[in-house]
Symmetry: C2
Subunit: 257 residues, 2 copies
């Protein structure tokens, strides 16, 4: 393994591209291999057993591609399978949860930190913070491009109102999709509440680790991203570009795991 | 194969239990084996290739259990994989689409028939009727028990308003979940529009076929239903009972396909 090897990133679907976006921003000279398990999505409603099985299949695909490390760009997989992957696999594994908690603790003044996520993430208890709330309908709304509608606002109000009474000062957006509706979330919690994007926090942690361990890619060129999915439909390219916040560099390739 | 063998029923998840409910109602002396592919749910947003692969895995599981026929209790699987299954498998295969169309044509006076379903079902064009509309958020709302809320009404209004102008007189609820929110659907289309539940239509067709071919179970006892899923979480028993409209007769068993 050399420092020129790519960084592997996997997610249950396309939401993890919001994490890839942050990784590219911080490490433009790295090559990335992204795998979205779109035949297995969503992980957020599945059991620990099934999510762990899927996560190992995802990680093994990336290892076959000779990645130098793996970023679990999915909160549910981080919560339910992160420890198992770290124990069993031979490359450094980064999850999105640990860095988000570290960042929230650094920023919070009152220590009253909240987290929102899928049912799987929240029920796992992996985010050890004061207050939590699962928001299971946010992902379907975002995937259906219902991102600025009265119906979404009603749902957001229902999910987020309880945080007002709790007087949190920091809220972790514990699902890769949520940064897409950050403005809706901000408008439903007190405007002074600071929002944490785990993708950003994870990117910083990966960068620091690679730097300290002399594993950063030293190529002068801007790196290349390659995208794989386990199921492909026509809508994916457009959805992927929304999450990534830019045009895809390459076609999406469908693979069987 | 004897007429005492069970009837196999499969769906992408638990929604197909609304079809099982109709089958049991019409054929109380039959034994049923139900498989919900809850590790693969939802089928409605996946490609034809992936849905076909999953549907064959589901059907083969049922064949191993010696079923005398198979009911595809999932509109998306019926639409995308129904023909392939009918060609390749050695037992009678019933889908939920053909009987629903027959029923709608029988009932409609104007021939203006509409259908609502998942994106996969609608885009397949399998329902050859005048007007169609995909309603991708209905399934997540129903699975989250958001079945009588202002947000669902807003979404229903958006999806169903176009049918008013089309002046349809019959609407097929082309997804197993939709009968659960039949009252919301009725309130958003003209009240004179007749709603078709494909589960009911399919149950009638299966009954007629088994009767004509002397394949009805002649046991005097009330039949038994056995439930299998590919992923299990705690919420499933409650959800299953909502779809089935009664207490489960047996525990749900998790299997790997």
């Amino acid at each position: 393994m050399t420092k020129e090897n790519p960084i592997g990133v996997f997610d249950s679907g396309l939401g993890g591209l919001t994490v890839l976006k942050q990784l590219i921003k911080l490490m433009p000279h790295e090559d990335f291999i992204y795998l979205g398990d779109t035949a297995g999505v969503p992980y957020g409603t599945r059991s620990k057993e099934t999510v762990t099985k899927f996560a190992f299949e995802d990680a093994n695909f990336l290892l076959d591609k000779k990645v130098k490390c793996i970023v679990i760009a999915c909160n549910t997989a981080s919560a339910l399978a992160g420890n198992a992957l770290k124990k069993k696999l031979g490359v450094p594994i980064f999850d999105v949860i640990t860095p988000a908690i570290d960042e929230a603790r650094k920023i919070s003044k009152t220590g009253k930190i909240g987290v929102i996520g899928t049912r799987g993430t929240i029920e796992s208890g992996a985010y050890k913070v004061s207050y939590s709330q699962s928001c299971p309908l946010f992902v379907p709304f975002i995937e259906e491009d219902e991102i600025d509608t009265p119906a979404l606002k009603l749902i957001a109000k229902k999910y987020l109102d309880p945080f007002k009474k709790k007087k949190i000062d920091t809220l972790i957006m514990g699902c890769t999709h949520y940064p897409i509706i950050q403005n809706i979330i901000e408008s439903e919690v007190d405007y002074r509440v600071k929002l944490i994007d785990p993708g950003k926090a994870a990117a910083k942690q990966v960068y620091e680790y690679l730097k300290v361990n002399s594993m950063l890619n030293s190529q002068n060129l801007v790196g290349k991203s390659t995208y794989f999915v386990t199921d492909f439909t026509e809508r994916f390219t457009r959805m992927a570009e929304i999450f990534l916040g830019q045009k895809l560099q390459d076609k999406i390739t469908k693979v069987d795991l």
